[in-house]
Amino acid sequence: MTRWGMVIDTDRCTGCEACVVACSAENNVPTVGEDDAAMGRAMHWLRIERVVEGEFPDTRVRFVPVLCQHCGAAPCEPVCPVYATYHNDEGLNAMVYSRCVGTRFCANNCPYTVRTFNWRKPAWPEPLDRQLNPDVSVRPAGVMEKCTFCVQRIHDARHEADADERELRDGDVSPACAQSCPTQAIAFGDLADPESRVSRLARSRRAFQLLDDLGTAPGVVYRRGGLDLEETVMGELPLPGAADD
């Protein structure tokens, strides 16, 4: 059984935010304009958290991309009154837009604050709407949304695999953020497969998880600064991820 997961290397992340824009482009994430943005209604599914250490001139900043952690024990799931968000058997924290009634309870109970809400009807003035991704539904006003691990890409990859009658291979699926990362700080794959790239990266002693003390069992593993053999090897080998798209 698959357990989709992600490994993010905070040591490779330079905070260039290419992933943020890639995500918005892939998933039809609307922009809300200055006034709503000033109210904290920007809808990015993926944000770059800064961690600042030390005072000038010893300032050290590290960037931590934070997206839906697709928790194994997700706090957002039990509180939804209509099962609009639930855990599917591939470890995805699913969000069913058409079922959502907009109580926003899930968002309150998300310790990572990664869920965003459609406060208004999203607008893409002609011809901006030509860019909209036909494989992702445009969400109406009043529903929650969040990172889906680019579920549409998972489905597409599976359709392709079915078409040429084979199993999904490691690296077949690459979410928009991972795909565009210049330093390949983001890896995506099946954490249940011990041989997958994410599994190997997640085994590092540099690995940690956000707020893991809350017992949310996140599906996203982070790696903090430092060196180990794994890292060096990863550096030289052409990455398996390079096979996708």
Binding site: N88, S98, R99, V136, T148, V151, Q152, H159, A163
Partner: protein, 129 residues
């Protein structure tokens, strides 16, 4: 009509239907290729040829429409691959002169039924995303 009298396969013209996510329409070129010779003077066919020569694309009314509010991503090819017969959703098109919706494609219970029978996924995000 095509199928009954001429024993034509649906996919002979609707090529996208077999693999693509969206079945799409065959280009007018395909219709014309035959109908130049086959019953070119039939009034409807005449309209077609006329439009084609005038390089006027025809607008077809979609009969099976998935309402946007359902936020469903339907993959036609996947269903074809699962050997869902065309008629199961599109009805007995072969005998129709005007395509009519015979199934409420927008009725989720109908989708779910079929998925259950065929042990296809009933995971919500199999379709809703």
């Amino acid at each position: 009509m095509h199928v009954v009298q001429e024993e034509l396969e649906c996919t002979r013209c609707h090529r996208g239907a077999a693999e693509q996510k969206r079945a799409g329409l065959p280009p007018m070129f395909v219709c014309v290729a035959c109908h130049r010779h086959a019953i070119p003077d039939h009034p409807e066919v005449a309209k077609l040829l006329e439009a084609y020569d005038a390089k006027q694309p025809i607008l077809w009314r979609k009969v099976n429409v998935m309402p946007e509010s359902a936020m469903v991503q339907f993959h036609h090819g996947a269903h074809a691959r699962a050997e869902v017969a065309c008629t199961e959703c599109h009805g007995d098109v072969p005998t129709m002169t005007v395509a009519a919706p015979v199934r409420q494609v927008a009725d989720m219970s109908w989708c779910v039924d079929c998925h259950r029978e065929r042990e296809a996924s009933v995971d919500c995000i199999a379709c809703h995303y």
